[in-house]
Symmetry: C2
Subunit: 108 residues, 2 copies
DNA sequence: CGTGTAAGGAATTCTGACACG
DNA sequence: CGTGTAAGGAATTCTGACACG
């Protein structure tokens, strides 16, 4: 990924109306998740919220968890552990490795 | 580049006010370049213009050319020849190959 | 707890036009 | 030709609150 492509994902340039269209969430929900510290938009000079594509992805992930009955408090807890998808993937692989080799270690 | 990263560059989600901040161009200028067929934003249901990061880059390129005294008509002509940077790069490489091997071919 | 809604204000965007040149 | 500006309307966004639960 080039520097430009990286900034495309993290640069906060999308207004709440478009984020609402993109995620299917109401503006009320999006603002509430911010209040609960699950998402952190920038503000334009005047005060309008601005989101990145990364924020949009986070919101879609939040939406899925809410559907499963997870509460905002719990989602925030998880966010602290897994700041991003990459880390999640790595930890999942690590988990598999532990499950596979952890037992063998007993025979060491 | 993943599919997601690709869409980050081409997905039209940025409003004209933010494009103005990003490019340093006035909204008047941005709308005028559209009128001159140099840029093609999408429209929201209500009619608001929406731009992609790719559009923002194109606009910055246009800004540079305007500074050099190039007119919108001429810029449009160039755009037809080089639809995007990738194609430009490929054609430049091809040009080098021709310059290097085109002559040798005479000895074949 | 999570989300809908009505409320009023402030900022945004849109179009067509006049201006200068 | 390229861009600034004033004009009026329509849609957007913001906050704090009441509601249900």
């Amino acid at each position: 990924m080039t520097e430009d492509e990286k900034s495309y994902k993290t640069k906060k340039v999308i207004t709440i109306g478009i984020v609402s269209e993109l995620t299917g969430l109401s503006e009320r929900q999006i603002r509430y998740y911010e209040e609960r510290q699950l998402i952190f938009p920038d503000r334009s000079q005047r005060g309008t919220r601005k989101y990145s594509f990364g924020d949009v992805e986070t919101l879609m992930d939040i939406a899925n968890q809410m559907e499963d009955g997870v509460r905002t408090f719990e989602i925030r807890q998880e966010m602290k552990k897994k700041p991003d998808e990459e880390k999640l993937k790595r930890s999942m692989i690590k988990g598999q490795l532990n499950a596979r080799f952890g037992i063998q270690n007993k025979f060491k």
